[in-house]
């Protein structure tokens, strides 16, 4: 028997140190944020009472209020649908620019990346604020805001899908004498079609949720009504609206999941 014991370590000393520092950083960040916000545990002891109070005021939901929220709900769905459709159309050229294998040159590549980042770094609500100024308050501003926010999301993810395609198929189409547009239609589009549909439906589902708050800045949808009810402390109406929103969000998620399964 050898006296030397066999040792095995998953990480060497340097890696262990690195992992320790990374862990420490996470903890320090959390503590720093906590202290910065000066969260006081004392204020938390009123929470159960407030929650109970709010729930009591919300119960029972005001069912008689339902007819009044049908129209804003439908408007919300339309804002999401129109915004998503616009975003899909705009995102295809953006994705082609932002994908390394289809972008014409380095300049267009960075332009694509820039468009994606600008669109994504601005929240839907901020976009809505801007477009309410431009178009006036109403669902149009909401739909455009939804579209502007979604272009970045769709452009980025679709661009990544395009980077993943089998370029041999594209080359074969090109080798037969197809034009650039034809090559995109026959070589690229079929390969990303499931992703295109899947991402579109997924974004639509997100946009339904986003559209519900657009009304807070006057950009149409159920949010207008919801904001008004909260302002008026009409908590039973608020409860009814929250239930309705929950219902259409669940429905949109089911539809989205189902559609993504259908496309292969």
């Amino acid at each position: 028997m050898s006296s030397e014991t066999v040792r095995w370590e998953r990480f060497d000393r340097k890696r262990r140190l690195g992992r320790f520092v990374a862990g420490l950083l996470v903890v320090v960040t959390i503590i720093a944020s906590w202290r910065f916000m000066a969260i006081d545990f004392v204020t938390l002891d009123t929470v159960p009472r407030e929650v109970a109070d709010l729930l009591t005021r919300m119960y029972p939901p005001d069912v008689a209020y339902t007819p009044q929220i049908v129209d804003p709900l439908i408007e919300t769905i339309h804002i999401a649908a129109l915004g998503t459709a616009g975003a899909l159309v705009l995102s295809i050229p953006v994705a082609l620019l932002a994908a390394e294998n289809t972008t014409p040159n380095a300049g267009t590549y960075w332009l694509g990346k820039l468009l994606v980042t600008v669109s994504r770094s601005v929240n839907t609500i901020i976009w809505a604020l801007i477009f309410v100024v431009i178009f006036g308050s109403g669902p149009l501003a909401g739909a455009v805001a939804i579209a502007f926010r979604s272009v970045g999301f769709l452009g980025k993810l679709l661009g990544e899908e395009i980077e993943e395609i089998d370029f041999g198929q594209v080359e074969a189409v090109r080798a037969s004498g197809a034009s650039v547009v034809q090559t995109l239609l026959y070589g690229v589009l079929p390969q990303v079609k499931p992703a295109l549909v899947g991402l579109g439906v997924y974004r639509w589902e997100i946009n339904i949720r986003d559209s519900t708050v657009l009304g807070f800045v006057g950009a149409g949808g159920i949010g207008v009504e919801l904001f008004r009810a909260i302002d008026a402390f009409a908590w039973r109406s608020v409860a009814m609206m929250l239930i309705a929103i929950l219902a259409i969000v669940i429905l949109s998620e089911l539809l989205s999941a189902h559609t993504r399964r259908l496309v292969r």
Binding site: D166, G168, Q169, E171, A172, V173, R174, A175, S176, G177, A178, S179, V181, Q182, L185, Y186, G187, P190, Q191, K193, P194
Partner: protein, 291 residues
């Protein structure tokens, strides 16, 4: 007639894939290009229709100088060049018919292509060709439902429907089993003969090359080191192609001269050959049998 003169390709990595290759393919002959992995066979074929841009040299197809063409002219010229690929390169999510009609894209507008509106004669020819390659009744199947052999038949139909002046074939059988390889090669050469289309085919399976080609050329390390009929290709010729031995050297000098350059086995950009084991075998055989 395809005439290639002094074709050179140096990749940005500094890799000299082709070092001045001259080759003529004319009439309705089938020329097989053999050579080890990384010899530059794929690069050579891809430089002809400029899927890979050659660094220097000229390629002429009849009276068209392919190497000097601008983008639009190149597209038009490519209509006359059919290409068949190692990995089939069919558009997997399209149907068999759509893939075959891809060969006619150069003759329709983008809008027609989008709506799948092809001229009736193209569709008629596509059906005929599908029957000819043994895929009658499969037109509306999606390509990803097909077997490897069936896919390469679609690949053949797609190239032939172009009514090309030449067929470029890049390792058509290396993704197929030996039996399917044989039938696919047979079909390919038969169809080319029927239509009197010359064929330039990259192939590393020497047996298939000997059986189906009218002429054999051997590429080693970016240079043409053998040219002759299948009968001319003896052990010494194989040795030259696969080990780079000088045609005139004796056995003793050959054994000292054998090591192939280290860069030889490195996959090159655009040179997607997955035939390592086969080539290794061939090399071993020639190493054993050569002395």
């Amino acid at each position: 007639m395809l005439a290639v003169s002094d074709l050179c390709k140096t990749y940005p990595t500094g890799d000299e894939a082709l070092q001045g290759v001259d080759l003529t393919v004319e009439g309705s002959e089938t020329v097989a290009m053999i050579g080890p992995s990384g010899a530059g066979k794929s690069t050579f074929i891809r430089c002809i229709n400029r899927l890979t841009e050659p660094t220097a040299g000229e390629v002429w197809l009849d009276s068209t100088g392919l190497t000097a063409l601008g983008d639009d002219e190149l597209r038009t010229a490519r209509r006359d060049i059919g290409m068949i690929f190692q990995e089939y390169n069919l558009v997997e999510r399209l149907t068999v018919m759509e893939n075959v009609l891809t060969g006619r894209l150069g003759y329709v507008s983008a809008w027609q292509a989008f709506r799948r509106k092809f001229p009736a004669e193209d569709i008629e020819r596509a059906y005929e060709l599908l029957d000819r390659v043994g895929l009658g009744g499969m037109a509306d199947k999606r390509v990803d439902e097909l077997s490897g052999g069936q896919r390469q038949r679609v690949g053949i139909a797609r190239a032939v429907i172009q009514q090309p002046k030449i067929l470029l074939v890049d390792e058509p059988t290396s993704s197929l089993d030996p039996e399917t390889s044989e039938t696919v090669m047979e079909l390919l050469t038969e169809i080319a003969a029927e239509r009197e289309v010359p064929v330039l085919i990259n192939i590393h399976e020497v047996d298939l090359a000997l059986e189906h080609a009218d002429r054999i050329v051997g590429l080693h390390d970016g240079e043409l080191v053998f040219e002759g009929t299948p009968d001319d290709l003896d052990e010494r010729g194989l040795d030259t192609v696969y080990r780079g031995a000088e045609p005139a050297t004796t056995d003793t000098s050959r054994s000292t001269d054998t090591p192939t350059p280290a860069g030889d086995d490195q996959p090159r950009v655009g040179d997607a050959e997955v035939d390592e084991p086969v080539v290794a075998n061939t090399r071993e055989q020639s190493a054993n049998g050569g002395v």
